[in-house]
């Protein structure tokens, strides 16, 4: 059928002729067509199946090829991607390893520096062995010095105490010698301390020779000086301030010549004054005593207006009545009208006392006895 068509188709120029040819061959054609279509119909299934098979296989191949192709592409991509990731990871690892290496290095160097620094710092500031040694040596030196000074101090204190004790004993013995001065030995009779059987007199004898007898005045002065400030209810010993002693004279060269002993001369020169009572009273003691008396009287007086004689007292002054008697309730009669209770039945005579005395002529003439002839007006 196909060949017929192509033959038919090919005869283009002779198309009309061709078309006539075709029209004639139509029933043959129809039979051919019927046979071929029956032929075809018989083999349609198997051919269909075969075609399907072939096509499926071919499609499969195509797809597989496509898939293979895709796979290959995928492999390429993934290869590339994994390589990229791997390299990235590697670079990271490399970086960290490098970083770690650097840090280790830094750490080690830092450790070296810190080692040196800590050693230096602790050895210099926290626990400086040499300074500590020097300090301890200084402490022991200082201790020695302090010990020595304290020893000296204690020794001086001891010496002072001993000296004081000694002086006190000496003073006591001297005082005793002064009290017992009468036991001194004389030409005729040897004293108690100067026994003839002794090779040399007792030291007390020498003291007695030097001693001056005690006088009573010195004893009194001594008593006044003992002040009792300690608690008198329970105290058993009195306690006195130490007496200040006069300084000894400066040692000079002894002056030449038979001079008297300087101590004696000084005693005589600076003998305390013992004046008589007449010399002791001051020259104006009388006036002073009078003044004193006047002052005492002035002190004891109630007011200073002296009492004037009755005649002249009322000449210039008005009488000041008492406030009590010049009250608004009227003057009370006491003090003006009457001064005392009056019991008329007891009177001896009819008259009361005279309240105003008559003037005494003798006194009126006081100060007026002489004439006024010589007075200057």
């Amino acid at each position: 059928m196909v060949t017929a068509c192509t033959r038919a188709g090919g005869g283009g120029a002779g198309s009309m002729a061709a078309w006539a040819g075709v029209r004639t061959g139509v029933p043959e054609l129809l039979q051919e067509c019927f046979h071929s279509s029956r032929f075809v119909g018989q083999y349609r299934k198997t051919e269909h199946a075969a075609a399907v098979k072939i096509q499926s296989w071919f499609r499969g191949c195509r797809v597989r090829a496509y898939i293979r192709y895709l796979n290959k592409m995928m492999i390429v991509i993934q290869k590339w991607w994994r390589g990229y990731q791997g390299r990235k990871h590697f670079r990271k690892m490399l970086k960290t390893a490098y970083f770690i290496m650097k840090m280790n290095f830094y750490n080690e160097m830092a450790v070296r520096i810190q080692k040196r620094w800590r050693g230096y710092y602790i050895r210099k500031y926290i626990h400086n062995y040499y300074k500590l040694k020097k300090y301890l040596e200084a402490v022991s030196l200082n201790n020695e010095i302090v010990r020595k000074e304290l020893e000296q101090f204690a020794e001086t204190k001891e010496k002072e105490k001993e000296k004081k004790d000694l002086e006190r004993k000496e003073k006591k013995k001297d005082h005793q010698a002064r009290k017992m001065h009468y036991l001194l030995s004389t030409e005729q009779i040897p004293g108690v301390f100067n026994s003839p059987f002794r090779p040399s007199p007792d030291p007390m004898e020498l003291r007695l020779q030097k001693a001056k007898p005690l006088s009573h005045r010195h004893q009194q002065i001594k008593e006044n000086l003992t002040k009792e400030t300690s608690d008198f209810p329970t105290c058993t010993s009195s306690w006195t301030f130490p007496m200040v002693q006069p300084l000894p004279p400066i040692a000079r060269q002894k002056p030449q010549g038979p001079f008297r002993d300087t101590a004696e001369v000084l005693l005589q020169r600076y003998k305390p004054l013992e004046p008589t009572l007449r010399a002791a009273t001051s020259i104006n003691s009388l006036e002073k005593a009078r003044e004193e008396m006047k002052r005492e009287e002035w002190r004891n007086r109630i007011h200073d207006n002296e009492f004037l004689p009755f005649s002249s007292c009322q000449k210039n002054q008005k009488y000041d009545p008492l406030i009590q008697s010049s009250s608004k309730y009227g003057q009370i009669t006491y003090g003006t009208k009457h001064f005392r209770e009056e019991h008329h039945e007891k009177w001896v005579a009819n008259k009361d006392f005279e309240t105003v005395l008559p003037p005494i002529e003798l006194f009126d003439r006081c100060g007026k006895t002489y004439s006024r002839a010589g007075q200057i007006v």
């Binding site: 302090v146 204190k157 608690d231 209810p233």
Partner: protein
Amino acid sequence: MSQRQVLQGVMSLLRPLLLDVVPTIQQTAALALGRLANYNDDLAEAVVKGDILPQLVYSLAEQNRFYKKAAAFVLRAVGKHSPQLAQAIVDCGALDTLVICLEDFDPGVKEAAAWALGYIARHNSELSQAVVDAGAVPLLVLCILEPEIALKRIAASALSDISKHSPELAQTVVDAGAIAHLAQMILNPDAKLKRQVLSALSQIAKHSVDLAEMVVEAEIFPVVLTCLKDSDEYVKKNAATLIREIAKHTPELSQLIVNAGGIAAVIDCIGNCKGNVRLPGIMMLGYVAAHSENLAMAVIISKGVPQLSICLSEEQEDHIKAAAAWALGQIGRHTPEHARAIAVINVLPVLLSLYMETESSEDLQVKAKKALKNILQKCTYLPALEPLLHDAPPNILKYVIGQFSKVLPHDSKARRLFVTSGGLKKVQEIKAEPGSLLQEYINTINNCYPEEIVRYYSPGYSEALLERVENYQPVL
């Protein structure tokens, strides 16, 4: 009992005499009451119960100075026996009148009033507070400045009694300006005054660091060290107490004392005294050494350790020995150098014997044990440790063995000496529980030596050898 009744009858006879017209009779009656109350606390109670105090207080304000002295004497005599009687005196209002007496011109009256106030304040802090509230402290400080020595003494003693109870009271005394005046009086030659002044300063300084610093700022060092050389025992004791109270607060204060040469002075003072007078000096050394190792080393080079060991052996009283043991422990516990300084003078066996003795008091035993433990934990001086191996009880022995186990592995000469002196033998004889610390130490020591020596010295070795001899079959 009848004697007491008689005396109480006397009290009721004396009471009306206090109200007599003649002043001399009043004064003498008051004096008699005072002397009776002074003697016995029953009589003092009778004085209080007989209502005599209000009359005394009332007339104290008015009468002349002799009566005032006698009345203040009665108050003092009553107040000194017990806190209850002192409280009775405070309750009847005597404090204000006594403070008024402190302002009197006569020094005898002031002294009697200050003495009475001091005795009242002595008992406890409430009474002290009452005395302070009455305004006595500034007047007492003025009394200290007076020229009479007896008045100064009594005023200083009263201030000391007031300030000893609490920091607030001490601060009140300091605020009145007492420290400067007290510090000046340290140089006074009178011994009893120095006692009281030093006691007052130490009572002030003991409460806190600030107060101690204020006392130090008054420039008492190095003058106080001369007081340590005084001939009076109690002046020395009080001076040592003052230095101890200052040293115990901080390392800086102790450093100050060391720099002023205080340690040498205190050590000399300990050497010169005997008995209780030594105690504050010993405690001072302990406190100084406790602060730091440098200070402990300073104590060692000032030759403190031989002196302390002499105290430990010489003294009879247990509390002084306990103090000396404690001080040695404080010195030796810092470093091996310190422990060596203590071990060298052979004081460790003494400490051990004090710990072991059954007659020692408990306090002494505890302190000796602690000191021994502290020193042993740092001691590397083996010749001193050896005697302890033989005598010590197990709880001390483990420290000794511990020290050996630390030193022996490193020192071959010491190992040799250990064997020859019989130490290894002793170690083998010790029975210790397996797994305990002691056993570990023993193992460490045994590991320092070859096996043969250890076996040789183990107990029962001679028997084992002889058994081997018995079982031996000679080869013919």
